[in-house]
Symmetry: D2
Amino acid sequence: MAKLKVGMIGGGGPGAFFGMVHNRAISLDASRELVAGALRTNPRASLRAAKDYGIKGYPSYQALLDAVKSGEQELDYVTIVTPNFAHYEPARAFLQAGIPVLCEKPITLTVAEAQDLARIVKRKKVPFVLAHTYTGHPMMMLAKEMIAGGEIGEVRKVDSWYNQGWLATALEKAGQQQASWRTDPKRTGISNCGGDIGTHAFVAATWVTGLAVKKVSARLNTFVKGRVLDDDFNTIGELENGGTALITATQIAVGYRNDNGFRVFGTKGSIEWHQERAESLLVRHGDGRDVTYWTGAEFPLPASVASYLRVPSGHHEDFFPALANLHTTIERQIRKNRGEKGVLDAFPHPGVAEGVAGMKFVQAAVTSSKKKGAWTRV
Amino acid sequence: MAKLKVGMIGGGGPGAFFGMVHNRAISLDASRELVAGALRTNPRASLRAAKDYGIKGYPSYQALLDAVKSGEQELDYVTIVTPNFAHYEPARAFLQAGIPVLCEKPITLTVAEAQDLARIVKRKKVPFVLAHTYTGHPMMMLAKEMIAGGEIGEVRKVDSWYNQGWLATALEKAGQQQASWRTDPKRTGISNCGGDIGTHAFVAATWVTGLAVKKVSARLNTFVKGRVLDDDFNTIGELENGGTALITATQIAVGYRNDNGFRVFGTKGSIEWHQERAESLLVRHGDGRDVTYWTGAEFPLPASVASYLRVPSGHHEDFFPALANLHTTIERQIRKNRGEKGVLDAFPHPGVAEGVAGMKFVQAAVTSSKKKGAWTRV
Amino acid sequence: MAKLKVGMIGGGGPGAFFGMVHNRAISLDASRELVAGALRTNPRASLRAAKDYGIKGYPSYQALLDAVKSGEQELDYVTIVTPNFAHYEPARAFLQAGIPVLCEKPITLTVAEAQDLARIVKRKKVPFVLAHTYTGHPMMMLAKEMIAGGEIGEVRKVDSWYNQGWLATALEKAGQQQASWRTDPKRTGISNCGGDIGTHAFVAATWVTGLAVKKVSARLNTFVKGRVLDDDFNTIGELENGGTALITATQIAVGYRNDNGFRVFGTKGSIEWHQERAESLLVRHGDGRDVTYWTGAEFPLPASVASYLRVPSGHHEDFFPALANLHTTIERQIRKNRGEKGVLDAFPHPGVAEGVAGMKFVQAAVTSSKKKGAWTRV
Amino acid sequence: MAKLKVGMIGGGGPGAFFGMVHNRAISLDASRELVAGALRTNPRASLRAAKDYGIKGYPSYQALLDAVKSGEQELDYVTIVTPNFAHYEPARAFLQAGIPVLCEKPITLTVAEAQDLARIVKRKKVPFVLAHTYTGHPMMMLAKEMIAGGEIGEVRKVDSWYNQGWLATALEKAGQQQASWRTDPKRTGISNCGGDIGTHAFVAATWVTGLAVKKVSARLNTFVKGRVLDDDFNTIGELENGGTALITATQIAVGYRNDNGFRVFGTKGSIEWHQERAESLLVRHGDGRDVTYWTGAEFPLPASVASYLRVPSGHHEDFFPALANLHTTIERQIRKNRGEKGVLDAFPHPGVAEGVAGMKFVQAAVTSSKKKGAWTRV
């Protein structure tokens, strides 16, 4: 089985830690390798960064694409790790060339861009995975499987959240790069908190339950002076089955790191998960026995989940393996499409549909907040 | 120091477990004793129930009050543990007679009733404590003290919740008494979930922070068929300082028992508390060190809190001691008013002001929900 | 049903907090009341202390006993809360007079004394309960029931511990009363740490499993200078079925409060309990699903346990209710003996047998430690 | 900075999951790559396995070594992942050739072999790291740094443990490969449980505190019928400073996965760590405030630890990154030795000294157990 050859767009700047994170995720399995990249906007910097990575450098994503088209550069898929505003163009270009894309979230700057990508993916039938890393955690995958399997009956309510504290002060004025682009409307879009981490809570609420949010009432706040976009994001939504979704996020919760999680309440039971204790899943049926499931390859998890595990139980797979699982999913899709034999089924990780839905959700929330909480269709 | 003599209104019916709970809380300290009661509506049943309690029985609260007025029955205060609809009349009657009242929550059926009690309390200067039991937990008291003392800076956001699962099915149709009156508008008022447990989350948000909720956007749901009132209660509120309060409650979270708690996010730190692990309080300042405080008499808690503890650290005081602390508060107020010497300061536990605010909040939430989430003044 | 009248020996000194703890436990249920006491050694102080308690005072336990014998004082049982050295004489005197005794642990100063009490209890058939408070926690009772019922198969190993930090410094030299008598051989016996809290770990290992410890290898340490007795206690024991018991305790674990608990490993499963989270019990069967059981009256606990609960699930009963359960047990034994009808079955809480076994265990451990860890018969 | 080229001995058999684990750890950082290997005993199988890994295969470790010596194969260090009995020979051979070795634990089959390796390492001054993976967890490293820095005063007692349940039944008879060689004296040495996981608990007790165990009293059990070696391992040890070490391990704790951890009690504070929640460290000073430290690159950890982190706080680095940290340590040692510039300091992870100490400890425990717990010098 030949290694898949991966290219990277972005990820090479100082402080752009996600490039290296993806590199680790790509190479965590021996079946993939990062081979080429257009890692920075500045052509010369881009080549230099590639040298640091030990891969073939290109001055721009177009140059990389040209090399692939000309046959000069072998490439099985690209991963896009640029800031939000710079997802759309390279994603579109590679998808149109039929090259699969694993793209960082949120998918694009606008709903229209996201819909455009969705159209291309549909037309070209090319694999596209949206890097909601946490959906790669086996216990989050198990939650989705359980709910689909009826374990907790019909879903009545979802409570999903993401509490962070890193933007409780004006970090962007201190020159911190991650803070700078995330709080800048030009580079991040119409919402900072909602787009960056509200979308994680949104995916938890909708991808895990399989239910869309139909309308939403929202209150967005900007607590830190001088900031233009929201740093606090609160919504109450209506699910397509009439249920309720509380989807909230904040960046001003001092001392909270990545407190992301969800509770799903069904007619027959409840499921709870916390990203910061990603290795376990709590399931209750109201019989006084709370069951905790643990990740790990020894136990009888559904095959759809078990095939994504790398180590025996009791040894947690965490951040890198979760992201690696998304790369595994696009890898499986690619190999399946090629007709390779013995390829395991890919888990239905988020793709363009979830990307479009997330963009619409954030847009509806921004609109509702401006209209003093009026219910707004997503 | 003579024992305070306590009377009880309600609490004597089968399944009315709160009567015995208050009895335990009253007698947990040797300085108080339950001596008399009008424990049921039916006069004969009331006398019989009193006999079971081993106290002097009266056929009605009026009869008890008459006996007190005539000097026939010594009484220092009454505790009212009837269903919601039957709080107002006895509370008013005793307060008007100058007899202190410790009353179960929610304070009354309507805002007007609550305001009437507040006026009497103010005019008569008679002690009144509202039995939000959880506020008697030392760690919840510590949270209030810390925030008042500036430990976390200015409050930006509060997230308080109460998740239960016991009404996930139509328990009221199965003849369960607690479920019957709580889901009956005549006996419980305009809101079931909001009034019964939403008020706990409301008190957590406002009493702990010292901040009022000014306006609110709400979505109330009734998930169980045949039910008239809400069994799910979701609100986003604006605090008087411009901050945001998420105050939510549900009774359909299968397998959740009394998952009540709060997170308060300030400019300098955060505080988190969970009723089901009431003995600890989590404080963060964003420096990578999360501090857990534990209840217990050995440690340097503020004197205002320490004087409410009964056992050394490592031995949890829980439900009964928490409620006992509210009785301790009314006891201290009574003894202070009488000029007894050496009486410790009473902690500012909830009273009529919190009762009125809670009723207004629930009413505003019901209104907002009917108006599709429109922001409504509290 | 008439209230049982309870007398108390000891518990009246300043800092003798356990007297008030027992008073609270006695009066937590309306079926018992503390009525009389010989609360201190000094006769005058004893009478004064009784006045503070609001009960009938006696200058000595003999005077109380005489009053009972003469019919002058009604009394259903006594509770003994003196320091270790002063358990034996009053216990013997009351038992010989046929009066039931609930006695603080450890039962006596020596094995011989404990055996003497056991003989009297057997001959007189008089109820005797040993106040290992933690055995009153419903989840510890559930653990015992589960193991007896075969839930985890045959027991192979028990790991029980008790970590405290309060004696990490020479607190006894600072005049702290609890520390003074516990570190004084005359008042506490041949072992401080082993006798005081090692016996709790011993009871966890043996009472919960129903298995005796046959022999033991021990290492006792005295870490704080100037101290005569052990403040650290480590043993490896052999259970009667050939299994192994790790029974350890320490008082020098800085910052640990009452970290007492056990893990029992059987052929088919494991059970784990922690006193500081007394309300839950963790059961595992090796199938990847860890089950947490929670205390609370709503759930289908065995009747033997459920009849000891006072509040619905989600509201923890903790320290006072646990001790109250031991008073409930002696109350049930007394009422049963008298032929009262409708009395619920008493749970087999620790009594003289466990007291004798505990004393023998501590003695064997002290001997083994002196013999450099040689296996010593218990 | 050129990538270090790594070779692997063993790790290629079916079920030999540690080979792939090391491969992941090696490639987690872009500065190393697995390039060659003698992955199985059978030469043909070895070549085939290498093909699967996508690396240069050799029929035997000698062949690989010859290729390195002849200059045919570039190699910076080897990692040895064979079963216990097959560590010594390749380790010795490569070390004698001056090639650094990262070797799985336990270091060898016998004390003599371990001492021989120690002599060679000393003489040749060649880097050697012993793969006690858990020591690569940043919070375990932080514990070591804190204790060395005096944070908890002088160490009085250590309690370290490792509870597993996977060998609670005769898994080796069911053909499970990991179980087979671990329970076979020829391939695993004189102790199964002690050697395999007791050594982890031993390293936690000694490496973290910096204190040697001087003598030990032990009880080893074999609970599963037909098994020759221990599956349960209990010791009480004396530390070189007079303190006490409880070092225990078991493989029959049904449902326990990798419950490894330690508590260190010092004169001024205590430190507690659990492998299954590896991302946090609990520190107490007896002032009622328990401090939890969390891993993560944003917080002010000591530079010695911070330089081993890869992601921001709130995203856990777990199993793979922990092992990768040991590869980082040998990498830093190698680069330092070569005089490369800007190389960060290597953390003092376990090496030959810890390997020799561990072997002596297990041997002393086996001896003591046979002598009925007699104190035995390590």
